[in-house]
Symmetry: C2
């Protein structure tokens, strides 16, 4: 009998999408958000569950758990160019949890929602044995501004917002008891790219988009499968987090391994026509966020990484639940 | 230090709603759904968490867990008169869970959604120590057809759809190992009143509405608080479930206690003007569901129950998590 631990999260999702009837969603399972026709707009809906085992290091404060839950859901809205409309949260807590834990958690959730122009509109609390929090975010985007995962074309530039390896650096620091607020901040209090996503969507030049929370390599493999294309990534162009760079030279840490595979960076991965890249970059500069071209979309259905003169296949080592690193 | 076990679910929700910033929801926490302006419509959003400890008796099959999660969320949409647009689910499962468990769970969820005219449009799976499933349903209703919890007026009739005590009868049978499919069905596979809610909303005659999942007494106390009114319930008029009536005479079972307080009946509790009751009843007959007047709304802010010549205060013994009966 197959167990979920053998299956992995990606395959579990494939299994689920085979079972589900085709509904009325214009875009269903397999993108960052579901998109449902709503007049001239799409209603975007996304949901993410945060569990103690997978997401909550002991050092994480309740305020941060609340912030994190909202941020990771808003990140999916941002990847589609959406304007958030609201969030609901379900909170499962053990019965001996303190009232102040719940209060701080809700304050963190509230502050994150408010900071990104939206609010928590409802929720549910239940008694559970472990901490399990589930968030659902919804938003809207004009149909012709929707940035789906499908659409990458051979010849397009592939680009990322912000810096990579931020969360990985925090994870490394935690494991080695070197964490301080600055180092851990990106791991524990990620910033969803709402204004960046909305600004990019308005240009209508993005050919495909997803958030990079599963790690760059895993995200590229997902885009490859959906778009029937390949990618050629230039290792030297990957924008590395300054925090990660501080750990350069540590024997047990290959900074590129961390930046390419770890995940937890709530940045956007985009493809767009080569001649439109400068325009997109200028628009993002206004939001205060860099956009970096890291390679190109290829006809050949391989994902390779160029390191000086060498060209190698980029391995798919993405972060998967039911299988990999946990905090407990 | 206060613990959540001292607080109870209702107070936890009050605490949460004090913390949250006022957002853009037209109707926020405290109703069955949040309602957000969306052109001429409200977007309705509701979320419910199902945990092993509180909701999942050992006898419950994975298919039924899936059905149940979708049904309880759709019930909240039905109480506002909404047409469902879709659902998302987050599923936390232990890693040794079988693949077939997940498949069956998703089949149950899918079939319930499809049966009520909607579909599962997305979700998330995570590894947890116990089974925790969270559903979010969303739908729409025309603004002037929205049936909120506020609006009950002194003199209005108070009415319920269907029969009460169905889930309670199933719970009693389970505890005494007398469960068979017919007896347990309402507990394990509840029917959300989607078509009934939509039909009632179109009449625009309902002054307040909520689903009765927390039990009749608890629901009445919630309406009382929101509407600053009281209720006079006629005990003899409460439509008792035939399954519950089968257990009449059992020494350890007061059928009215079960029907009034247990909860788990996904019926609608409505108030409406006395002279419009017949019209509402006729409309519901067409959907195959009875509507029964069980009393009236009073100016006096008490909830009393009339039993022949006697009139007593109806106690508030509603179902609350963090405090009451569990299945584990």
């Amino acid at each position: 009998m197959n167990k979920l631990s053998d299956l992995g999260e990606r395959k579990a999702i494939q299994l689920i999408s085979k079972i589900l009837s085709k509904g009325n969603a214009a875009v269903g399972i397999g993108d960052d958000c579901a998109a449902i026709e709503f007049g001239k707009d799409y209603l975007l809906v996304t949901t993410d569950m945060i569990s103690e085992k997978t997401h909550i290091p002991k050092i994480m404060k309740p305020w941060q758990i609340g912030w994190f839950t909202v941020a990771v859901n808003l990140s999916d809205i941002s990847a589609k160019g959406g304007k958030p409309l609201g969030l609901v949260l379900t909170i499962g807590l053990p019965k001996n949890t303190s009232e102040s834990f719940l209060k701080e958690l809700m304050k963190g959730a509230d502050e994150c929602a408010i900071q990104f122009g939206t609010s928590i509109v409802g929720g549910d609390t239940k008694e559970t044995h472990e901490i399990v929090i589930s968030g659902t975010a919804f938003g809207t985007v004009k149909k012709d501004e929707f940035m789906g995962r499908k659409g990458a074309k051979s010849g397009d530039i592939i680009a990322v917002t912000g810096k990579l390896g931020k969360a990985a650096a925090g994870y490394y620091a935690l494991k080695h008891n070197m964490g301080n607020k600055e180092i851990l901040n990106d791991l524990l209090e990620p910033i969803p790219r709402i204004k960046e996503g909305m600004a990019l969507a308005k240009t209508k030049i993005v050919s495909s988009s997803m958030d990079i929370s599963d790690g760059l390599s895993s995200s590229l493999y997902q885009l490859k499968e959906l778009n029937d294309v390949g990618f050629e990534i230039d290792k030297g162009k990957i924008p590395l987090s300054p925090v990660l760079l501080k750990f350069e030279g540590k024997k047990d840490l290959d900074i590129y391994e961390y930046a390419l595979h770890f995940g937890g960076d709530y940045e956007l991965l985009l493809t767009l026509p080569r001649d439109k890249f400068d325009k997109a970059q200028k628009i993002l500069v206004k939001t205060g966020t860099p956009l970096t071209a890291i390679g190109k979309v290829t006809k050949e259905k391989k994902i390779s990484i160029i390191d000086g003169q060498a060209k190698k296949i980029l391995q798919n080592k993405g972060y998967e639940h039911f299988r990999k690193h946990t905090f407990c």
